[in-house]
């Protein structure tokens, strides 16, 4: 079983669109993991059902026991996030402002403060309207993605792929270069980078490639919207050449992408005549290298 991670560094480059199209192209020989948990959107296309969901706990929140609190106010005074006040006549923690650092817990002279694990969302394994299983997660409002959650989603997806005897695990990676992305990349066999012909497209690609290089994972590049700025596209070409990144077919700007997303489809469904050959060519190039 080979693990292929699709990442972009920058948002809006078409990463998820290509991920969905590849998943559909591979039909039933894969499992898909949506690790872009902050802005998960694969489910809009895959229409997951018959989901098996598990609550996910991460991070802690301070809680003050009013029976033990002696109103000394040390916690409110020292909290760096101004999350504790006695506006109600009693010291309480604001759940939104509390970062769960635990400073107040250590300072409280009466041990009236406890740190409670928070249920921040759910991860789930679902059947989809395509033939593959989708492993994904839903976070509650204000909760953030973490390496912990991505590692969990990936571990389930990996086990599922092995149990079902599938050849591929396709991971829709997290944005940026932080902990969730490291967890997305970790253990991968191949990386598909999706960028666009814009200045931020170039600089975010450079940043993400530094990280990929650190993990010594070979990669290929899709330049989307290549025609909107030919100068930048040229820069991307020379960067790929210098860094030995495989260049996949260039994609011109197309309305099919937003159209597909708004209709809950993959680009292969919105305009099969246009995209079937492109996705086939992309997959052929990658398959030869993994």
């Amino acid at each position: 079983m080979k693990e292929i991670v699709i990442i972009s560094g920058k948002g809006g480059t078409g990463k998820t669109s290509f991920c969905a199209a590849l998943a559909q192209h591979l039909q039933d020989d894969l499992v898909v993991a949506d690790c872009d948990v902050d802005a998960a959107d694969l489910h809009l296309i895959f229409e997951p059902h018959n989901s098996l969901a598990t609550d996910f706990y991460s991070g802690v929140l301070a809680h003050i026991d009013p029976l033990r609190c002696i109103d000394c106010g040390i916690c409110a005074e020292k909290c760096r996030f101004d999350a504790i006040s006695n506006a109600s006549g009693q010291y309480t923690v604001d759940a939104v402002d509390c970062e769960g650092c635990g400073y107040c817990y250590h300072l409280c002279p009466e041990n009236a403060i406890s740190l409670k694990e928070q249920m921040v969302g759910q991860y789930m394994s679902s059947e989809t309207r395509f033939e593959c299983t989708l492993v994904h997660a839903r976070l509650r409002v204000g909760a953030d993605n973490s390496g912990k959650l991505v590692a969990k989603v990936k571990a389930i997806a990996k086990d599922t792929a092995k149990d079902q005897g599938k050849s591929y695990l396709i991971v829709d990676g997290s944005p940026g270069i932080g902990c969730p992305v490291i967890a997305s990349l970790s253990g991968a066999d191949y990386v598909i980078l999706v960028t666009e012909a814009s200045q931020s497209g170039v600089s975010d690609l450079r940043r993400i490639w530094e990280l990929v290089k650190m993990f010594q994972i070979p990669g290929a590049l899709i330049i989307n919207k290549a025609d909107i700025n030919p100068t930048v596209t040229k820069q991307l070409h020379s960067f790929a050449k210098k860094e030995k990144i495989l260049l996949l077919p260039e994609i011109s700007y197309s309305d099919d992408f937003p159209k597909a997303i708004s209709m809950g489809q993959s680009i292969l469904e919105t305009n099969p005549a246009r995209w079937q050959p492109v996705i086939s060519e992309i997959w052929k190039a990658i398959k030869e290298r993994i």
Binding site: G59, G147, I182, S186, M214, F215
Partner: protein, 113 residues
Amino acid sequence: MKIAFTATGEGWDALIDPRFGRTDYILIYDEEKDELVSIDNREIMDVAHGAGPKTAQKIHELDPQVLITGNGPGGNAASILKQMQLKIYIKASGMSVRDAYRSFKNNKLILGG
């Protein structure tokens, strides 16, 4: 010489875990004592952020001279490991710990970092 492995289980037949920070186990082989010790690292599953530096700190405390792993450590972990006299070999994913050790002895592993 002490050699550390990132592994998905215990013992010589365990597979090398490609992940550094979130590796399930750290195995240490002490050549002088001819002894393989397994350290359960699965508590790392509960760490939301900074798994790499945490595992790097563990490696630092175990003080091996060689680390054999898969993808290799990320930036923050690497900057900790740089403080040690540690040779890091990568791309051993898929091998058993036994095969990885043999490959290392035969100079067949790739030096990372």
